[in-house]
């Protein structure tokens, strides 16, 4: 079984990718960060990703549309939806459309790491032990 987990992270705030990519690397996840949904979808069209993490509210495209297109291209890909505008309705819609999980911002990098680890395990990967399960107790900053 290949061990490099490939993840695409899409959020129009560059700080999100900058902060999360190193955090995900700690559990063996190779992250490509994008701020532009169209560029992200182009990359998804050219390359297979195991996991896609997408924001919902972006200027150029709705994250739920990204979710739809990702699953259309690769039904095995686990899509994790993140948003700063979480509501019951959006959460249900995301899950109904096939999202693997849904998390509201702000969250700690460790929270996303746990979800990504779960998604990777669901795909059959062996995931490195989360090195900082105690990080939240040490002031892991929120994203």
């Amino acid at each position: 079984m290949k061990q490099q987990i490939r993840l695409l992270l899409l959020d129009d705030e560059p700080i999100v990718g900058k902060r999360l990519a190193p955090a995900l690397a700690k559990i063996g996840v190779e992250t490509e960060s994008f701020t532009d949904p169209e560029a992200a979808l182009q990359q998804i069209g050219e390359k297979d990703f195991d996991i896609v993490v997408t924001d919902i509210r972006m200027d150029k495209m709705d994250g739920l549309e990204v979710l739809r297109r990702v699953l259309q291209k690769s039904p095995r890909t686990k899509v994790i939806v993140i948003t700063g505008y979480a509501t019951l309705e959006i959460a249900r819609e995301a899950l109904a459309k096939g999202a693997f999980d849904f998390i509201a911002k702000p969250f700690k990098p460790n929270d996303l790491r746990n979800i990504v680890a779960r998604a990777a395990r669901a795909l059959g990967y062996k995931v490195k032990e989360n090195p900082v399960d105690s990080s939240s107790a040490h002031g892991d900053p929120e994203t």
Binding site: A86, T87, L88, A91, R92, E93, L95, A96, D101
Partner: protein, 274 residues
Amino acid sequence: MPVVTISSDSYRWGREIAVRAATALGYDCVDREILKAVADRYGVSESDLHKALDESPSPFGISSHNHVKYLAYIEEATLALLLKDNVVCHGLAAHLYVRGVSHALKIRILADPHKLAGEISSGRMPSFKKVSTLLKRREKFRRRWSLAAYRIDETDPSTHDMVISLTQIEPDEAVRTIAETARYRKFKPMTYSIKCLKDKALAGIVRVVLLDQFPDVRVQVDGSSVVVQTKALEREKHRRTEVIKELVGDIPGVTAVEVKIIPDIFREATESFR
């Protein structure tokens, strides 16, 4: 798996459907049996807890302060059980305090009006006009109760995910429909919805701790951070803040407490006239 809350205009029919739905789904059914344990834990009478769920506060019945307190006890205990997942909950008003939790499927069961009227009038079958009047009065009462207790009109269909009328749908069909709906992907627990439920559960614990001393308290929780809002006079502000921080800070799972004091203008006005 989701949490299913079942409320009804008839306790009997709500319970019947809840028990059968729990069996069909392989879930636990949580009902008013828990009230005995809640009463023992808080040193109140079980019948008062039942009254809080069934009656509005009144000068001749349950006081407003006790009504709020008893419902807070029930809410705290129920939310702790709902966190365990795979639960069908009935008769504890959970549909009114799990709002916003996306994996809580809220079902409303409407009993057959004639059967319900028969139950209310102890088996005698009143005329159609009387049935209609009786049921309207009951609905008006429940609307008033739910608005007073939770600021939500439980008789409004839009507050539920699904309303099933037993006049048209047989109980077996209702149970099958509930079980099938509970399996929809959209009702699966997710990180966000589990956090929402945990936040509500912790807020429930904080309220119970504070209600005796601060009956008007409002609590919001985000993870382990708690925001408490209460009214006070200017001169009480510092002391109240200290007391609240001390009480809430001792609760397991709480790491930060913010206290917002709202000026108690009515008491300030009363004092200024003295």
